[in-house]
Amino acid sequence: MASIDFNGTTVELNPEGFLANPAIWTEELAAVLARQEEGIENLGEQHWAVIRFIRQHWLEHDSAPMVRSICKTVGVPLKTVYELFPSGPAKGACKLAGLPKPDGCV
């Protein structure tokens, strides 16, 4: 099992870099994941808006939102979502929002 160091404690990741325990997610942890797993040094306002929306959606619906509702709710064009998260909405944004890896061809 992979892991990262987070403020002196060890946080376990699944082999694909998603949190082994999605419940322990915090925004600080998201920033560390962004740097270490996705190579994103600084999360900007738009990153945060997307991440917070995905997290909230997951807490309420137990699933990742459609990219359509990310664009609509956060008010970013689709192109921007891909630019913000080069690994894509699933392996990029959902990972940083502390979701389990979505099922399917992702």
């Binding site: 699944n14 082999p15 694909e16 998603f18 699933s63 990742a64 459609m66 990219v67 359509r68 509702s69 689709l78 080069p86 690994s87 894509g88 909405p89 699933a90 392996k91 890896k101 979505p102 099922d103 399917g104 061809c105 992702v106």
Partner: protein, 455 residues
Amino acid sequence: MTVPAPAALESRIAALTDADLARGFDAFRSKLSAAEVSYLGACVRCGLCAESCHYFKASPELENVPARKLDHVAAAFRRHATTAGRLLPGLVGARSFDREMVRAWVDAVFGRCSLCGRCSINCTVGIALPRVFRAARAALASMGLVPDDLQATVDNSLAHGNNMAITKADWVETVQWLEEELQAETGDPEARIPLDKKGAKYLFTVNPREPKFFPLSLQASAKVFWAAKEDWTLSSDPGWDLTNYGLFSCNDEQAGAITRNLVDAMERLECETLVIGECGHGYGAARWEGPEWLRGSYPFPVRSVLELMDEYLATGRIAVDPSRNPKAVTLHDPCNLVRHGGVREPQRRVLRRAASTFVEMAPHGEESFCCGGGGGQLAMAAYKDRRIASGGVKAKQIRETGAPVVVAPCHNCIDQLMELNKEYKLGVQIRTVAEVLADAIVPGPREEGGACPRP
């Protein structure tokens, strides 16, 4: 020789009873035809298959040799199903089908094989290794030993009619949004993405990954249909998802139930032809395996959307300007589409017409290497490191073409290629055939008096 299985499977393996093992072994036997049983004793240990397997090429170790994987499976067969094996197991290399062997099977057929079939076409004596590996997966499935994440994808399809558990409302809303985007892109307020159009010629199917996370490929396919003035539709109810992970979990009943969604949608919407979008395993499952799972041929033809795109260009139904795709493109051949599925040329003809420069990988076509994400590998997190390592073979092929654009007519391959792009720092753009074609479309000659370039 102990090979650890994924943790969740390990506890289930430990709990297997003798009755479970017997059931698993029976399932294995029942999945093999008489001809396939003969493969189990046919290996002459020439070792030729080793270099044909991307797992072995990337990590040359014994357990990655296809013949070795075959041997794990065949050893149990020799022990239990042959007279010599029962009487003299040591003499014929027979081993008991026990927990230890189950672990070896899990590791060999789930953990180190994408069922790509490349070993098979390079085997000296023509052993269809993937048939045997699929029978072994079926045996493991009958004992409840499919890795959880792979099974979850199957369960989603069974419960929700698509492998990402997308609700009907979300699916329909996304299609309507894409229709607006298409109208904006084409400047045609009449451009449509038809839903539930009864009697349409083509029922088009997509990968749930498109509406969920990567809708531009769906919009591109719609643009192609728009340019060709095609009579097509999507289904709002189940029957729009072309994937079938039952092909990988090797539970034929579940695979058949998933295929049933497509057949039902064809009946409900009274369409003429089922069109499978850009997907390797989805094409193989619907076109070749589905009738076997459902024990009967379909009352309709099944075609790949690549064949349609090729026809539109060949007959001049859509016109393209390749200079709109100025960068060189190369093409990945999904195993299930090309080696297993037999769809090899249409995508090439489309790219030659729609892009300025088309470069083949070496090797390609039937001899193409798997991207590493096939056979359900993309869904099994436990084997991620092996998946990325084995994909190194494809990454190298891509780099050697020098092409900045990689086209893959399969969303599963695309996801793996995106990861390879990141891990191996390839710096390429990864696209579907429809995306390349859609970018090249110019107003047709009929409307413009033949002024537009035709390929």
